[in-house]
Symmetry: none
Subunit: 374 residues, 2 copies
DNA sequence: TACAGATATGAATCGATTT
DNA sequence: AAAATCGATTCATATCTGT
């Protein structure tokens, strides 16, 4: 039940046999290392495999800086077929090692997650949920060419469709202020003090936040369970497992990452109550944009709104823009421009009419929030 | 350009030839109907394919690839392969019909979206974003055995990786209160007045909200574009396309759904010009050369401009060239050279002073455009 | 010290047009 | 076809710098 206080890179025996190398990092290729682990021996596999991003040339920020992109060799694959073969290989070994009632978690982005999801279904895994990690602070789309890529996807799957898997429903509900935990999780990306640095720059290009692993392990393992992470990196899974009283087995090929992970896990302490609280996601009320009221037909495009004294009337555009006196802008900006003020709260400035009554458009926003809140 | 006021189910000719059956519903199997549409003829395909993996039909039984093992999984694997064959069939036809610069949207859940995503990558589509439709009011998980399934996933993909697709960046930014639109969209599920009923119960089990299609069509089509929906159902795509001044082609096998869709689209009101207007990106504004501002005396030759921090000052030449520190170049090139950057937007980099206020020279360009617009 | 302002950065499949 | 040129584009958070 106890988790080791110290962790060392394990030697590499031919077989681990029935004895699992608990709370150690195996420094080896993930498939080779997995092949030496016994059947049906771990309770969970958490995997953060390479995404195969296929990035092109450099990307520059509007102010001139260069984006420090993932250009590591471990993320490069010759083709989609090569990536698929790699995926089937590690997913297959993981399923063999997983207990019949164990579950698999994989995280990915649109570059790879569809391939991973299809292959794990092919192998007989049974998908329980797909989880959206909604990033509170993603990198913007600098070129204005697509939607801001603001989330990653996790797949949660059991060994098979008959598995009696662990799901700590009550813990999740408590964690979510007495509401059922949903399939979309809002969490910040890993930064600040938590982000590990070496020589002034990030130790790993894709370090995951501990809050993410915290929720995964709390939801789907029990204390004392064994979690295998075949793409251990700098050991987020190991650090959180130790904090939560779960065992881990890490596999990592890169000696530099292993070294960082060893130090990190050795320093990790079981969380006390105060620590737990800080790891929970801030309850961020989703903001309602004016455009949402337009999309949902509460204020249809082409209709008009006006200020309380009807000095100005504005026509609503399909994108939620306003036009008045030949000027176009958002509800806030146009209100400021017309009044010749530096700023203006459009929600209280603009009004609409329903059944003879004139109300600020903010009332519609309140209606929307009330109608859509759980 | 105009969208038909009335819509009828189209007869089923052998071929549509070069003439598209615009703003009609083809009452037929989706793949049969698609096979009669010409190559490279539509701007967008929006598809909400069946999620049910237990497709009984023998139409797409994988040939030859019999599964030898006789166990409980046989049915499951057979149905996965059947679903894949169906997916490849309709995705392939859709790609043939799509213009080279057209885009595909598919919506699905974890049951099918990974298979669809993998197959569309295999076929050469290029994924631009995966979009999470975060349901504001999802159905709870009554048994408490999983996370509340509170989202669905859309994939947005272009015909190929070299496509020059449509993305109305500015309209999306306006719609989202002047912040870049992200890849996660919070929208309510379809209910209330919008949910179509027949005989007291819902006319279609998975009717999508119009707000979802509204955002999709506003983001990735232009007025007058043609949208093909091969799984038309009760015609949400058609209703929104008509409202937004886009053309649609619907394909639906079920006569009951076709009937509902016909009535619904006939009742939909198209927006007039004022409602259709969206904020334009500077890209589509009339181009103004820097030299024009010099010629018109807004920035006379010999006067100086500088960056916001006044680290560099440049003198304007008679031809609109700039000179600073003995270097000559365009507003963009000199800005890049001085900062030692690969590129620079001179319009926002260089500033001028008027009445004590410092403004970017782009403000002058806006003044010029406003003054000279008809 | 406190606060304001400037700077740095995160899994990114992130042009278009003319010569 | 390749190269040069034109020109459009960023949000949230953490840390550093200067007053």
């Amino acid at each position: 039940m106890g988790v080791l206080e110290r962790v060392r890179a394990a030697p590499v025996p031919k077989h681990f046999g029935a004895k699992l190398p608990l709370d150690t990092i195996i420094r080896d290729d993930c498939i080779a290392a997995m092949s030496r682990l016994p059947d049906a021996s771990v309770d969970m596999v958490f995997a953060d495999p390479p995404y195969n991003l296929q990035l092109g040339g450099d990307l520059f920020r509007p102010e001139g800086g260069r984006v420090d992109a993932v250009d590591d060799d471990w993320d490069k694959f010759a083709s989609l077929q090569t990536y698929d073969a790699f995926t089937v290989a590690w997913l297959g070994e993981a399923r063999r090692i997983l207990k019949p009632n164990g579950t698999l978690w994989v995280i990915g982005s649109y570059h790879n997650i569809f391939r991973v999801g299809a292959k794990l279904q092919d192998l007989g895994y049974w998908i329980l949920n797909d989880i959206v990690w909604r990033k509170a602070n993603p990198m913007p789309n600098f070129r204005g060419t697509r939607f801001t890529n603001a989330h990653e996807t996790l797949i949660w799957a059991s060994h098979s469709d008959t598995s009696r898997y662990t799901f700590n429903y009550r813990a999740m509900k408590t964690l979510n202020d007495e509401l059922q935990m949903r399939s979309d999780w809002s969490l910040p990306i890993c930064g600040g003090q938590e982000r590990i640095k070496r020589g002034g720059s990030k130790a790993h290009p894709t370090q995951k936040p501990e809050a993410l692993l915290y929720r995964v392990l709390l939801a789907a393992t029990n204390p004392g369970d064994v979690v295998l992470d075949p793409f251990f990196g700098t050991g987020t899974t190991g650090a959180v497992a130790k904090r939560l009283g779960r065992h881990f087995i890490g596999i990592e090929r890169d000696p530099g990452y292993v070294e960082v992970a060893e130090e990190r896990i050795a320093a990790a302490l079981p969380l006390d109550e105060s620590g737990l609280r800080t790891m929970q996601s801030p309850k961020s009320q989703p903001k309602v944009a004016f455009g949402t009221l337009v999309e949902t037909g509460m204020l249809p495009p082409g209709s008009t709104i006006f200020d309380s004294k009807r000095r100005w009337t504005a026509t609503i555009g399909a994108d939620g823009s306003l036009t008045a006196n030949g000027t176009v802008g958002s509800i806030h900006k146009l209100g400021a421009t017309l009044q010749n003020l530096p700023s203006c709260n459009g929600w209280t400035f603009w009004h609409f009419e329903r059944d003879g009554a004139v109300k600020p458009i903010d009332a519609l926003r309140q209606d929307y929030i009330l109608a859509t809140e759980p």
